[in-house]
Symmetry: C2
Subunit: 408 residues, 2 copies
């Protein structure tokens, strides 16, 4: 049916599609479905008590400020806290290098707004984070993909892709969404060098970096970039080739919608202009509360607890996969993060299997939408942070039944 | 100095200019400057106690939900509460007609994203709200202006402007930002009829509608549209030609960043897709707290208190202007809202006067930037909600001295 509004939308609106994940999540909201589809933190690890105390203290001592309009850049003590935290990793960063955003998703949107002209190509891993594609599709982005294996983006194939003239490179080096894989140090170095040689900036998305359950912390791409180039601004702060994103969603609470961008001050200034038009500023109250909860070092201790809970759940999922999945099914073994990635034998189709899986009371996200240039029909993303170990066991058992029933 | 990043930005980034207001605000942050420049609510009217109680209750009873990811549309009970509130005004609206946004500014941005192609023309009042221009400039909007007088947009001049083919009409009918004027009922009717005849949608921005200090409430444009056209969707809900915006910023707290859009469900669905890419959803915690504070009717009572405080401040400013301003200076007499508008004699320039005013320890916003097609050099916007009456008196006295010193 033709309506009053049909002809009124902008061209870019034709390209906006609902996130497959969010649409699927609606199907899986029946309480008896075990869902590995979302990317939800476990509510059991939300520091409810600490947040309550912070709310009360902030409102009592500084309610007039916390409930008032604030600066677009973000609450200065929070930016300074993030700068101090970041400077621990061998890179000099001040509050001027930092913008507070409404979660990392807003950072992706603002980056699209500031950098992408219609038809610009963005170089991404394949598969890559769906929310980034969704943000950038609205600005008319096209994509160049580089294959990803168990050590992250295959940087040996990066140079060919760089010759295709991308506007920027987007990577998730730690416990990548959706695959759960981590980029090796050697590949990070190669990435930084090639990007610099070709004059192409890097967007480093690191929502899960603190959630490592085994192995050594690897240096961030932004830190390697700073070391290789020693590109510093007048004040000695970072001024290189990388824009780094992170978030409080996984270490504090996603419902507060707090993320941050670290970048050269000139880039931050452009992002600030874009954010002014987008929402004036991030909620003052949420920022002050996050500072109040975090500035004494609580989050460093809290992360230890989250790691413990999620490590157990990851292990449960890996064990259950080992126990129940038939031969020919492969999966990644993430060292951290929230997700692992299952590959079924060639010829199987996880989108087709999805309805039957939900009938069998288990859900996942089919892998295809994570591939902007196609592929991945036989893959799926599983989340292991949300369900308790015994539920994970039962869910993987159900999923295995569906897979077995369709094995050729 | 040419930097690494200069050639990397998108075309639209060239059009992003800092909001004149926000840059000026920085100049006026010295504590001894009396600033009429911002648009800040008075912190004395923030219901700190009620918000504290709501935070504690929400976190105790429902912390796992309030701190978790939520739906893009917004927290259902909050949308239902807004729907009930709106339905009081003779228009049928359900939660499906409502999207919760990060303040009204985000609603303006999402509307730009969903509707504006580069070069599309938007029909606005002149002067109009600066934040709307800032949001839409990023999408390449051009503007058609219609003159505004003491009864709002001069609708007798609207038909000519409609023939120039605008994508939509943007109006602030109640206590307009920046002028403080209110559109008469007759002009509202004319606007709704002409927009419908020419097939051009209306964006009705109503952040201050509840803050009326005298006179009768006038019907919203969206309500008049619903009555004239009886355009209803399958469920009998609103499905007309208007998208209506409002906010909790002026009746609860701007630091929570909560606004809402009311529109036909098909439009809401498009805005939801745009919002998914922009920030996934508005902070869950803030929405649940706003519902907790508001659902028992507290805001209806609280608004009475805000009106009393702001009425007194408006009166103080009007009295002070009467007492101190020299002949030849005119100003509006707002029936509500936060602002009034001063017009100096022709030939004077408020942008040029600004530095001297700040030296004289008083600040305002020059009127020129509110005019997207130029004009208004001799005008200024004054805010009366933030300062106490005695401070308003002193500020207007200082401002009058500056004006007098430059009178030709």
């Amino acid at each position: 049916m033709q309506t009053l509004w049909d002809h009124r939308y902008a061209q870019r609106t034709q390209r906006m599609k609902g996130s497959a994940i969010r649409e699927l999540l609606k199907l899986t909201e029946q309480p008896d479905v075990i869902s590995f589809a979302g990317g939800l933190p476990a509510p059991e690890v939300f520091p409810v008590e600490e947040i309550t105390e912070a709310c009360v203290r902030v409102l009592r001592e500084n309610g007039g400020m916390a409930l008032q309009y604030g600066s677009t850049e973000g609450y200065l003590p929070l930016r300074e806290m993030i700068a101090r935290h970041t400077s621990r990793y061998g890179i000099r960063v001040s509050a001027d290098n930092i913008l507070i955003t409404a979660g990392s998703q807003q950072a992706l949107d603002l980056i699209g707004k500031v950098f992408i002209n219609r038809g610009d190509r963005v170089l991404v891993e394949s598969p890559t984070y769906l929310g980034a594609l969704q943000a950038w599709n609205a600005y008319g982005a096209e994509y160049i993909t580089v294959r990803t294996d168990d050590e992250g983006m295959v940087t040996d194939e990066l140079e060919d892709a760089l010759r295709a003239g991308p506007k920027f490179i987007y990577v998730l080096p730690n416990f990548q969404n959706p695959m759960g894989v981590t980029m090796s140090t050697e590949r990070r170095r190669q990435l930084v060098e090639l990007a610099s040689r070709y004059g192409v900036p890097i967007i480093e998305d690191d929502p899960y970096g603190q959630l490592r359950y085994e192995g050594e912390h690897l240096p961030s791409v932004v830190v390697m970039d700073a070391k290789i180039h020693a590109q510093n601004d007048r004040n000695g702060n970072y001024s290189g080739n990388v824009i780094y994103l992170s978030t409080f969603s996984k270490i504090l609470s996603p419902g507060l919608r707090l993320g941050w961008v670290i970048g050269p001050t000139e880039v931050i200034r452009k992002l600030v202009l874009a954010k002014q038009g987008a929402d004036l500023h991030t909620a003052t109250f949420n920022q002050v509360v996050a500072y109040e909860v975090g500035h004494g070092g609580f989050l460093d201790r809290h992360v230890l607890k989250i790691r413990e809970v999620y490590r157990e759940r990851r292990d449960a999922m890996l064990e259950a996969l080992e126990k129940y999945m038939p031969e020919g099914v492969r999966w990644t073994r993430p060292q951290g993060g929230l997700f692992l990635w299952v590959t079924l034998p060639e010829g199987m189709n996880t989108t087709e299997l999805f309805t039957e899986a939900v009938e069998n009371k288990v859900a996942y996200v089919p892998g295809e939408p994570f591939h902007p240039c196609g592929g991945g029909e036989n893959t799926m993303r599983l989340n292991f942070s949300y369900c308790r170990p015994e539920v994970i066991y039962e869910g993987i058992r159900r999923l295995s039944q569906v897979v077995k029933a369709h094995l050729k």
